[in-house]
């Protein structure tokens, strides 16, 4: 797509000297100063703080007063039971998220593309995008309203129908919670995720479909042999981007579905980092886990990108 054009552009060598270029474009550099100042002040200035992973950082003593301990923090983390649990939960839940959450927008996009009535298509798209615009606080509170064991709508309806006698603890028992958590996650992202695939589908030439139809290919064959190969590049790009999130999870999403009965599964790396760090004051450990998490994420993206390129796809970087 457009990305390939950008990387295929011939490199124009800028032969002008710095002095002349600055003379002509000083106003542009002045404009750039604002965002550059912002990233330096709020992103880069925080990087030196990462040195605390090699320290036993005590908030009262600060960076200068705390002792250097080398790799001890990492040793401590990899022995920490809480960390094992958080890591296991993060990997399992994010893999499951990927497994059911990734194909869903593709399937939905294929179906939306095949819908016969333009108006119905438009309205349903508008409705399906809605969850993307709601905060996790809203989604969580609505979910509790729907799924509480005794007063939730789903349970009331099922009980009135006589399907069940006692309310199902959709959000208050860990195995039920796992399913609800995953499905609500899929529900939140599926509609918005279709946009990118629908955009890719419009880029497929109509002649291909006409030719296939003349050859007698039915709808499913056309979907399988034309539409899917047509969006393969986009699918691979999205997959690479999603692989980077295998480690990280959304703290807002996790805390919105928090309760004491589901702590076993809800305790993921994002929660570990937040609770150990800001609530229990174990700054070094929290930061080390955070660093571990982002490094693994970056590495996964790089590896996935390599693999995709080996397989003859465009890749991301």
């Amino acid at each position: 797509m457009a990305k390939s054009n950008a990387s295929a552009l011939p490199k124009v060598k800028n032969t002008m000297s710095w002095k002349n270029s600055f003379k002509r474009d000083w106003q542009l550099y002045l404009l750039l100063a604002f965002p550059v100042l912002m990233v330096i002040l709020f992103s880069y200035a925080a990087y030196p703080g990462l040195r605390m992973v090699f320290m036993d950082y005590k908030p009262a003593k600060g960076y200068d007063g705390s002792a250097w301990v080398g790799m001890e923090t990492f040793v401590k983390i990899f022995k920490d039971k809480d960390f094992h649990r958080a890591l296991r939960n993060s990997v399992v839940f994010n893999l499951l998220d990927l497994l059911i959450g990734f194909p869903m927008p593709i399937i939905l996009a294929l179906i939306l593309n095949e819908l016969r009535f333009p108006r119905f298509k438009k309205v349903s798209q508008t409705v399906l995008y809605l969850p993307h615009f709601l905060s996790w606080a809203v989604i969580g509170s609505v979910a509790y309203t729907m799924f509480r064991p005794s007063t939730g709508l789903a349970n009331i309806a099922l009980m009135n129908l006589g399907v069940i006698k006692e309310g199902i603890p959709f959000l208050t028992e860990k195995w039920h919670w796992a399913v609800s958590y995953l499905l609500i996650g899929v529900w939140q992202t599926m509609g918005w995720g279709t946009i990118i695939y629908l955009a890719a589908i419009t880029g497929i030439s109509g002649e291909l479909y006409e030719a296939a139809m003349i050859d007698g290919a039915n709808r499913w064959k056309r979907m399988w042999h034309i539409t899917l190969p047509g969006i393969k590049g986009t699918v691979v790009t999205m997959l690479i981007m999603n692989l980077g999130r295998i480690m990280g999870s959304n703290l807002e999403r996790l805390t919105a579905f928090e309760n004491s009965q589901v702590k076993d599964f809800q305790y993921q790396l994002a929660v570990y980092i937040y609770e150990k760090g800001l609530q229990n004051g174990k700054f070094s450990m929290s930061t080390a886990v955070n660093l571990f998490q982002s490094l693994v994420g970056v590495m996964l993206v790089l590896v996935a990108d390599r693999v995709a390129k080996k397989l003859g796809e465009e890749g991301l970087l």
Binding site: N14, Q27, Y47, I111, E114, F117, S124, W136, T145, T287
Partner: protein, 310 residues
């Protein structure tokens, strides 16, 4: 059901509903797909209908578990107590102010970054792009950021909700892509030859031509700020400085087990906790739902530009 059968009949009559991919007959697969999409759409609408119905229903009907999608014993007591209590109303007003400030400053930063970087001739462009993109892939993490905010004296301060997130690499990329593909170089060159300075070109030519992308990005900024509250959890302790979504989260977090909303004692007397909570959810959600139908098309445009760029 009746509506669906009407659609089936109409579908059978239409010979080619979507031009290129026309198949003349309405098949079972069409029906299956329509039902599938309708069910998914229902999951997006039904929960909110229920919460809305609950929020204006009479207490006795709610306690009797008699409310589905239509309110019974309509009254607005719960909303009245929200206004009487005032904390949510205050938080709403405060959130609007923070969101507006954030959006204006965000657009300013975004333009300042995207316009120079959209110029091929700019020397050092690769360097600046690199500097401005790294934070998208690698951040220092919660604790170093927290200590940084402490050093900057921003903890428990309204501006901590504004400054750190103001520069968004993603939004910058969208704007840059738009400028590169929609503003012809020749236009600026002729202005340059007429003696206009870079900033004059930006304010007199580029910005007026970029209205659609500015609309899209301002919505990205506004909804992003409105909905996210993780930074409230990290940096804010004072109640008055919390955004309304975080307030709602706190109410639900404390209510998820005890099944009671916590506005204040006085407010809780007039309505049952459940009705009150439903009203609180609706109160926080309504601004987004009202804005959404109008704003939606701008969002899709922005997402498309962002998608193409990867």
């Amino acid at each position: 059901m009746a509506k669906k059968s009407v659609e089936v009949v109409r579908g059978a009559e239409m010979s080619s509903p979507d031009g290129s991919r026309a198949i003349s007959r309405f098949r079972v697969s069409d029906l299956v797909m329509i039902i599938f999409v309708t069910v998914l759409c229902a999951t997006c609408v039904v929960p909110f209908l229920h919460v809305a119905a609950k929020s204006i229903s009479g207490d006795s009907y709610v306690i009797a578990k008699n409310i589905y999608f239509w309110p019974k014993g309509i009254n607005f007591e719960a909303y009245k107590s929200i206004f009487k209590d005032g904390t949510l109303v205050y938080a709403m007003g405060y959130s609007v102010v923070v969101t507006v400030i954030f959006t204006i400053l965000g657009l300013l930063v975004c333009t300042c970054a995207a316009y120079p970087l959209s110029k091929k001739r700019l020397k050092g462009k690769t360097f600046f792009t690199f500097i401005l993109m790294v934070p998208m892939y690698f951040t220092a993490g919660i604790i170093p950021s927290y200590l940084l905010m402490k050093d900057l004296n921003l903890l428990d301060n309204m501006w901590v909700l504004v400054w750190p997130l103001i520069y968004s690499p993603y939004n910058m990329l969208i704007m840059k892509t738009f400028l590169q593909s929609n503003i012809p170089d020749s236009l600026e060159e002729s202005a340059f030859l007429d003696g206009a300075s870079n900033i004059q070109i930006l304010t007199k030519i580029v910005v007026p031509l970029s209205k659609p992308i500015i609309a899209t990005l301002s919505l990205f900024y506004a909804v992003g700020r409105w909905n996210s509250y993780a930074d409230n959890m990290y940096y804010i302790k004072t109640d008055k400085l919390k955004l309304v979504n975080y307030k709602l989260y706190q109410m639900v977090a404390s209510a998820s087990e005890a099944q009671s909303a916590t506005l204040s004692e006085a407010a809780a007397v007039t309505s049952t906790p459940e009705v009150l909570q439903a009203a609180c959810i609706m109160f926080v959600t309504l601004p987004i739902i009202c804005l959404y139908p109008f704003a939606q098309k701008y969002f899709v445009k922005g997402a498309m530009i962002g998608a193409v760029k990867g």
